[in-house]
């Protein structure tokens, strides 16, 4: 019994059907608790006023936007190396979710920027590299749509994801070199060891982050199932319509 067994579409569908109810429930609970707590149950920041409440959307979304790309990278590698279809389809399924997260982070950031920095948008390294990430999502999704043959599409998008990752990192570095920004630094403990956000803000934020993560997972599982079914329909029809 190895993990790879779940690379079989049928096995995967079975497992994902069993896990999904819990996942959806957990995601719904965490997201709503985190957001409600953050929205209703936290005080205003002395400097940022009530805008600090945006953090419960902005940071989890930004986090998941990056993690989603990372997950797609891993899935693409698995497809390229071991050629498990579920893996490729999972990457395909994750892309729109990741892009949505990116858009949420961008929009909430822009809305937050207006009161804090006095501008909707600034060419700050953090913001800019995020915008580039958005472009990579866009290109990735467009490539999936444009290629007819599913396997070729999986191959091409995987390579694009790989090369894109390298260039995304490179862009991030280049952008930082090009401009020193005003976006604030990392405030989450995993990255810094200590934290710069007070506990009152931190716990709801943590719940919200977990919630976004679970939501992402649930969505990806569900959407992968959808892709598998579409692929099966296509396979059945293709084999039927071949003769004559």
């Amino acid at each position: 019994m190895s993990l790879w067994e779940y690379a079989n579409p049928v096995k995967f569908l079975g497992l994902s059907a069993r896990v999904q109810p819990y996942l959806w429930a957990a995601a719904a609970i965490c997201v709503s608790v985190g957001l409600t707590w953050g929205f209703f149950g936290t005080p205003e920041d002395f400097r940022q006023g009530s805008t600090v409440k945006i953090i419960y959307l902005h940071v989890p979304a930004a986090l998941m936007a990056i993690n989603a790309w990372f997950m797609m990278l891993v899935a693409s590698l698995i497809w390229l190396i071991r050629r498990h279809h579920v893996s490729a389809l999972a990457a395909k399924a994750a892309a729109p979710v990741g892009m949505t997260m990116t858009v949420i982070a961008l929009v909430t950031g822009a809305i937050w920027g207006q009161p804090m920095w006095g501008t909707w948008w600034a060419w700050d390294p953090r913001l800019t590299s995020f915008l580039i990430l958005f472009l990579f999502y866009l290109g990735y999704i467009a490539l999936w749509e444009a290629v007819d043959d599913p396997d070729t599409a999986a191959d091409l998008t995987s390579v694009l994801c790989l090369v894109g990752s390298v260039f995304a990192v490179l862009s991030r570095y280049a952008v930082r070199f090009w401009n020193q920004g005003l976006h604030q630094g990392t405030s989450v403990p995993v990255a810094t060891g200590g934290r710069t956000v007070a506990d009152v803000f931190f716990y709801p934020l943590l719940v919200s982050m977990i919630g976004f993560g679970l939501l992402f997972l649930a969505l990806v599982l569900y959407r992968t199932g959808t892709e598998i079914r579409l692929r099966r329909t296509r396979a059945l029809l293709a084999r039927q319509g071949r003769d004559a």
Partner: protein
């Protein structure tokens, strides 16, 4: 060097098209592939030429020995006949294009841009390309499309000469070419809808 297929299965668009195909073509002989439209001749030939991977089965003797001519001729409209041939000769590390020009009577067209040739003249040039590759195995997909009777004769002579020189040829066609060769009908090898010979979509069936 013999070209051998053993229990080959091929797919197009992820769907198995043929399975269980086996045959040998010995040097000095040609094999004519037959089958109705959509039977899978093009797919089979592309697989043998190495342009796509087989689903399963073995192909031996095909490594770096094949000159392939498909529906498209790989001609540049803005190069003339001689330049087109010279280019392909050089890609295959050769120089001489006079034999090809002569066999297909391209001399009068030598300096015409390929884009201004008629359909049949273009095809003649496309076939002439095979001769400059120096490859022993010719894999041809409907080579005589839009050729007139005389040009079909040129082609038949070129193939016969190639075979006499120890080459071999595999030709898919719907019409009679006037070449002494065995025929292989691929119709019986059509893959069944639930065929599981390694196609990429079989996990989804």
């Amino acid at each position: 060097m013999t070209l051998s297929l053993r229990d080959l299965a091929v797919a197009r668009g992820g769907v198995p098209v043929l399975s269980g195909v086996s045959f040998d073509v010995a040097p000095g002989t040609a094999l004519i592939l037959r089958g109705p439209n959509g039977a899978g001749k093009t797919t089979l030939l592309r697989t043998i030429a190495g342009l796509q991977a087989p689903l399963s089965g073995q192909i031996t003797g095909a490594e770096d020995t094949i000159a392939y001519a498909g529906h498209a001729d790989g001609l540049k409209a803005m190069l003339n006949v001689a330049e087109n041939l010279t280019f392909w000769a050089e890609v295959f590390g050769r120089k001489d294009i006079s034999e090809a020009i002569e066999t297909y009577q391209l001399e009068p067209l030598r300096d015409r841009l390929a884009g201004t040739l008629s359909a049949g003249q273009k095809r003649r040039l496309g076939l002439a390309r095979l001769m400059v590759t120096g490859r022993p195995i010719w894999v041809l997909d409907e080579p005589t499309v839009s050729l007139d009777a005389e040009a079909v004769g040129m082609f038949a002579r070129a193939v016969t000469r190639h075979l006499a020189g120890g080459g071999l040829a595999l030709i898919a066609t719907h019409i009679d070419l006037g070449i002494a060769a065995q025929t292989f009908d691929i119709t019986p090898f059509r893959a069944m809808p639930d065929d599981r010979s390694g196609a990429s979509d079989e996990a989804f069936l």
